[in-house]
């Protein structure tokens, strides 16, 4: 696959220069040792049109091979921006995939803020300095927020109403704001992919840990429809965004929805209904004691709808999820059962 030519409305910029000498594309991946980063680096390694993969993280990606060049950059350092623009210019990076976000809430909220909010700022400034043509950023549909007044399917135009006081959402919201600002830069393609919660046999995040419990807490009397995207589809979406030019924001979701109780039952777990006023007061304490996976800002997602509409990604990106929500749950479950009886060990990724 050669460079997409559909971008003809934009000036060709320095595309010729951006190609490396061997003629392939140079793709930089920040957060390269995260789940998405690891898999994306592996995928880009296999792609013959990519000549080099510039992996930026604090740990080298496990999947890096011949084409990958790893740079250790800590986004929480003030020098990150200068370092990044140096790297991007030296490697003449054409496409930047920004995946350096936390997949699950962290107790180190100051560090998380530096990494996600300020880190995104560093990355995007460096991208502007190095004149990078395309930036693809990871975001999540969780940022729409769970609210009883949500329509059943949230489109990309819907305001992001997640709780900004919770650092996990607040930092990502700020990152989206940064991205919006960056998108106004002329001659750039800015793509934001908002993935639904990712589920699959190898991924490890808040949702998989929630469903991995023997006894899964649910809010008494509430059974919202939920939606997942399979890990394979999520990675495929990023590959698609790298290969094609699709500026804008896209929801990356699996087809179909399921009531949360059905998901818990398909996962073979026991749902324990907890009255939500009690849950709200206890979760804060349990979170501080590091006994639960998320702070109480996650509880609305167990009560209300937060389901996004993937129609735009289908129409404009040509993204076709291979797994429905239900299939993603079943795929996760089949791996999780083996993990339960210690017949399958956790992947390092």
């Amino acid at each position: 696959m050669v460079l997409p030519k559909r971008n003809s409305s934009r000036p060709p910029s320095s595309e010729g220069l951006r190609r490396s000498r061997s003629g392939g594309r140079v793709v930089a991946v920040t957060g390269a040792s995260s789940f998405l980063g690891n898999n994306l680096v592996g995928l880009l390694e296999e792609d013959p049109t990519v000549s080099r993969v510039v992996a930026v993280d604090v740990r080298p990606p496990l999947t890096g091979a011949r084409k990958t060049r790893y740079y250790e950059v800590d986004f929480t350092q003030p020098t990150a921006e200068a370092r990044l623009s140096e790297i991007f210019s030296a490697e003449s990076v054409e496409t930047l995939v920004h995946l350096a976000f936390l997949a699950s809430p962290s107790h180190k909220s100051a560090l998380a803020h530096e990494l996600e909010s300020v880190g995104t700022r560093h990355v995007l400034f460096a991208a502007r300095h190095a004149d990078i043509r395309k930036v693809v950023m990871w975001s999540q549909t969780w940022l729409y927020g769970a609210n009883p007044s949500n329509p059943n399917f949230l489109t990309e135009k819907h305001p992001l109403r997640a709780d900004p006081t919770e650092p996990f959402f607040g930092d990502k919201l700020e990152a989206e704001v940064e991205m919006n600002r960056f998108a106004k830069t002329p001659r750039t393609v800015a793509t934001t992919l908002r993935t639904a919660p990712i589920l699959g046999p190898t991924v490890n995040n808040t949702v998989t840990r929630y469903l991995a419990r023997r006894v899964v807490p649910m809010m008494m009397g509430f059974d919202p429809l939920v939606q997942f995207v399979h890990e394979v589809d999520a990675i495929a979406a990023f590959k698609l965004a790298i290969d094609r030019d699709c500026p804008g924001v896209f929801n990356i979701v699996g087809d179909g929805v399921l009531p949360l109780s059905t998901v818990v039952k398909l996962a073979g777990r026991l749902a324990v209904p907890v009255p939500h006023p009690i849950a709200r007061s206890f979760t804060g304490a349990l979170w501080l004691a590091q006994l639960v996976d998320g702070p109480s800002a996650f509880l609305p997602y167990l009560r209300f709808l937060c389901v996004a509409d993937g129609a735009k990604a289908k129409a404009e990106m040509g993204f076709r999820p291979a797994y429905t929500t239900r299939e993603a749950v079943l795929d996760y479950t089949s791996a999780q059962r083996l993990r339960d009886v210690k017949l399958l060990q956790e992947n390092a990724a």
Binding site: T63, V232, L266, S334, V341
Partner: protein
Amino acid sequence: MKSKPKTAAAGPKKTAAAPAKKTAAKSRAKVAPKVAPRPASAARRKKVPSLLAGTRPRASEPPASEPPPSVQLGEASPPRIEETGSRVSTTDRASSPQVVAQMRELEAQLDRLIERASHPDLSELDEEDVDEAPAPAPAPAPEVRARAPEEEEPAPLSELPVPSGPGREPLSIPYARPSGPLPSQVAPVSERAVFDTARELLSTDFYLRKWGRLAMRNRSEEVDDFGYDPIYDEKVRPALDFLYTKYFRIEASGVDRIPAAGRCLLVANHSGTVPLDGVMIKTAVRREHPAHRHVRWLTEDFIYHFPYLGGAMNRLGAVRACQENAERLLANDELVAVFPEGVKGIGKLFAQRYRLQRFGRGGFIKLGLRTSTPIVPVAVVGAEETNPLLFRIEHLAKIVGLPYVPVTPTFPLLGPAGLLPAPTKWKMIFGEPIDFSSYGPEAADDELLVGKLAERVRANIQGMLDREIGSRKSVFFG
């Protein structure tokens, strides 16, 4: 030498889509000697190392180094299953029965494992030929991921000729415990230990899973975009039919004015402190309409704030009322019932019964204009007397998340039982369809016109109500 037939038994069982687990497990001892053919295909042989890789860190195939998901992605790159098996994989998109079949298979394998664990004599046997131990659960991650090929497996397996001597050798290699000192060095966790863990954990997990399966009997595994659950609907149907025929003795007229297919908006008066009219309109159309169409009705937000109500209503076909949802439903050519009065309709005091409230801001008219949908006005008579509302307590209700706390002759007095609707006699009149499509979709932006059309529909329904109430002799007997 029991092990060989036993692993063989696992093969043919796999071919059956859903083996009866109990019988399979019980008759395993009997089956074992009988089953001679041993479909030790290359696929099966090769699956094992990757399973062992989980338990032995330094097994031949390191599992973690490669990102499994990357495999299915590339259009060009061959799916991973090519590595683990000789089968051709077309992992595009397995339909649900295939997935179910695979789940069943996985379950059967786990059951076999449990069966083994619960038999003391068999666990002794483990020590003799441990090589067999991992065999019952040959479902490592890569195999799980590639679902589609599983269904293609049976045919080739059964057709495979019984492998001859050389074919047997490699099968035992991956799990054979070599006679030398190797295993103790290589595997820090012996298979025996893994097996013990498996026995412990599976015993609880097994029942939890059974519990889960039991819990699924009342619900579908798949719901539509708005959460409608056909199996749940089926379960509740007798109760709704009872309400329809015996309790409210509903007489519906003009149901056949609803088109047999295509999008249509039913606009009705809203009533009852406990709004049953949506469910009853749905039941009426299902029972009386020649095409037995399925009605989706739009409900107020507050039921989603309130425990239990939202989930149950969703499963029966209710959808939260908002422009986006309604447009999506109509785009799917559904039959949608709306109550433009909204919460004000439910909260009508007894003295105001059958006096239609303001029809919102004419959202349903905009909807009808934009999607050029015919509108069928519906008058529901009788529902407004089921829970005669005397007062509304509004400030208290804010705390509970309700629009108001109703006070009826029975409600706070008799506790929750006071909310039971009175057995009034209901009548439902479906009016002539009104077609606004001549105005064109642009008219939806004309607020004045929208208001006028909304008023026309309101007057239409009010007229039907007045006519019906005028001819009614008794609230309870019609």
